[in-house]
């Protein structure tokens, strides 16, 4: 019995210790650096306390990055969930087991691709002169079209690639969730002469609201990792129209000026906002699921 009691710390201890060190040391260090005026390649650093944060509040490029990040978050999460539910329901309604298996394998492909690969594949497909996706436009109008050159279409194009990667994968999950539902409510609705779309909209999807909410939560977290796509496809351009917070922090810290403290203060702000937002959402959704 004694061994049994000792076992839990031995099982849990090493990884908890590793994770705690790996998570807390950078967090504390990020906070520490953000209060200094450290720059890359310069040995001296002084404490400036909250000067970086005051400067951020007045930095119009930072405010733009916040706006772009917020638009990105809403746009990609909403479109991914909408497309996923639509395709999941269509697969469930129209396909037999074999077709479902085939489509499932096809739909998982995009999400497995490294973001760098997905970004390149579509950047080339949207190439104004040689792209396969822009070819119909060239054939019809005889003119090249550069979707990544204008602010609005650039953001929409990069968001499209993100939704391409995630919504097809989520559609597979929605299908598998629908498959777990008991058949009785469907039959009852059919007896009541409900149309197929009504059954899905008012019976099936509401029954899955808990898992769908968790899916949206996962997508919110993943949407914060937009850096790879934006870095390869637009580098934040044209101008600063696709510059999200992580892209701006990266260019402040590495590309343009090496102002590592300034970049770190941005990172600290992002960390605080995401931690508070996601912890609140997580607790709220658990309580909501418990009461409903």
């Amino acid at each position: 019995m004694n061994v049994r009691r000792l076992a839990t710390p031995a099982f849990v201890g090493p990884s908890v210790l590793t994770l705690a060190v790996l998570a807390f040391v950078p967090t504390v260090f990020a906070l520490w650096i953000s209060l200094q005026d450290r720059e890359l390649g310069q040995p001296d650093a002084h404490f400036v306390w909250f000067r970086n944060f005051v400067q951020l509040a007045q930095d119009r490029r930072f405010l733009n990055a916040m706006r772009v990040s917020a638009v990105w978050e809403v746009l990609t999460v909403a479109s991914t969930m909408a497309v996923a539910v639509l395709l999941g329901v269509l697969m469930f309604d129209r396909c037999g087991p074999r077709m479902r298996r085939t489509l499932t394998l096809a739909f998982i492909v995009p999400v497995l691709l490294p973001r760098v690969s997905a970004a390149f594949v579509w950047k080339f497909a949207f190439h104004p002169l040689f792209g396969a996706a822009t070819w119909p436009w060239r054939a019809l109008t005889g003119e090249p079209v550069d979707l990544l050159a204008s602010p609005v279409s650039a953001l929409l194009t990069v968001a499209f690639v993100d939704v391409w990667q995630w919504s097809l994968f989520f559609a597979v999950i929605v299908l598998k969730l629908l498959e777990t539902l008991p058949p009785q409510p469907f039959e009852a609705a059919r007896v009541d002469r409900a149309k197929p779309w009504e059954i899905y909209a008012w019976v099936a999807v509401p029954m899955l609201r808990g898992p769908l909410l968790s899916l949206a939560f996962v997508k919110m977290i993943e949407s914060l990792r937009s850096f790879d796509l934006i870095y390869v496809m637009t580098r934040g351009g044209p101008g600063i129209s696709t510059e999200t917070l992580d892209m701006y922090a990266f260019s402040q810290g590495f590309i343009e000026s090496g102002r590592i403290s300034y970049a770190s203060s941005m990172a600290v702000l992002m960390m605080v906002v995401t931690t508070v937002a996601f912890t609140t959402l997580w607790n709220w959704s658990r309580r909501w699921q418990a009461t409903v």
Partner: protein
């Protein structure tokens, strides 16, 4: 009236099938097209009308695989991903097992802590770690990258392996305890083999996460420890006379390992989603 409604339903079905067909095409075609392009010479790629008939060549692959930078990136990616995934499994699987078997407030808190690591913005991890690794003289080394990636692989292994262990029937373990198995041998000889297939899925998932990682590698390496995604992205940033064929070939090589995991991950997805939803309904 009846025939009118029937035709409306027929049109709806046709629309539904067309949508699914389009989605399947959109999922696969870009990857297939990239593969086709990787077999083309420059003259066959840089055309206004996409060319389907051409003489295939392996020159692009030969070029990528004989280049010092790409080979270095491949070796770095294999070493860094392999080591961080193996360490993540070694440390994470026992932890996941304990979380699945013991219940209480602390297991719940611990699970939330593991999940919350995923909330951390990668920039917020990479910037301080860059300063730390520079200070320790470990910047741009495989070791520092492996340690940093442990955050990724360890947390995802724990998160995904816990439900897999929970599906191991308790009765088997109780029978083993009567046979005199202690907690360690129960874990090693009973729980691990029984949950084996699902655990392989969890580990494959953490492999894909580490292999595909980009931002942290970009900030923590400059030359010696550069991983394959970084090398590939550098190729895509080349200015004029872009070697499109070589680019397509390197993207295919980069994407191959995660795509090879598709079978394992698909099986894992099916059991996890189905069982998870059933558990949630009761």
């Amino acid at each position: 009236m009846a025939s009118h409604r029937l035709s409306a339903r027929g049109a709806g079905r046709w629309l539904a099938d067309a949508t699914l067909a389009l989605a399947a095409f959109a999922a696969i075609a870009p990857v297939v097209w990239t593969f086709v392009n990787s077999l083309k010479n420059r003259v066959d790629i840089a055309t206004s009308v996409p060319r389907l008939v051409f003489t295939p060549t392996l020159d692009n692959y030969v070029y990528v695989l004989t280049r010092e930078s790409a080979r270095g990136g491949l070796v770095n990616s294999l070493v860094v991903t392999g080591a961080s995934v193996a360490l993540g499994a070694l440390l994470g699987l026992p932890c996941a097992y304990a979380l699945a078997r013991r219940t209480g407030r602390w297991t719940h808190d611990l699970q939330f802590f593991v999940l919350s690591i995923r909330f951390m913005p990668p920039v917020a991890v990479a910037i301080p770690l860059m300063v730390i690794w520079l200070g320790l003289d470990l910047y741009d080394s495989r070791l520092s990258l492996v340690v940093t990636y442990l955050l990724l692989t360890l947390s995802s292994t724990i998160w995904l392996a816990t439900p897999a262990f929970r599906r191991v029937p308790r009765e088997i373990e109780e029978a083993a305890a009567i046979d005199g198995y202690g907690p360690f041998s129960t874990f090693l000889r009973i729980a691990l083999p029984v949950a084996g297939r699902s655990l392989a899925g969890a580990v494959a998932f953490s492999f894909v996460l580490a292999w595909n990682e980009f931002l942290i590698a970009l900030m923590l390496t400059t030359s010696d420890a550069k991983t394959l995604p970084i090398v590939a992205s550098e190729l895509t940033q080349l200015g004029r006379d872009v070697p499109w064929g070589i680019l397509n070939a390197s993207v295919i090589l980069l994407s191959l390992p995660p795509l090879l995991m598709i079978g394992v991950l698909n099986g894992f997805l099916t059991t996890t989603v189905a069982r998870g939803a059933r558990r949630g309904q009761h």
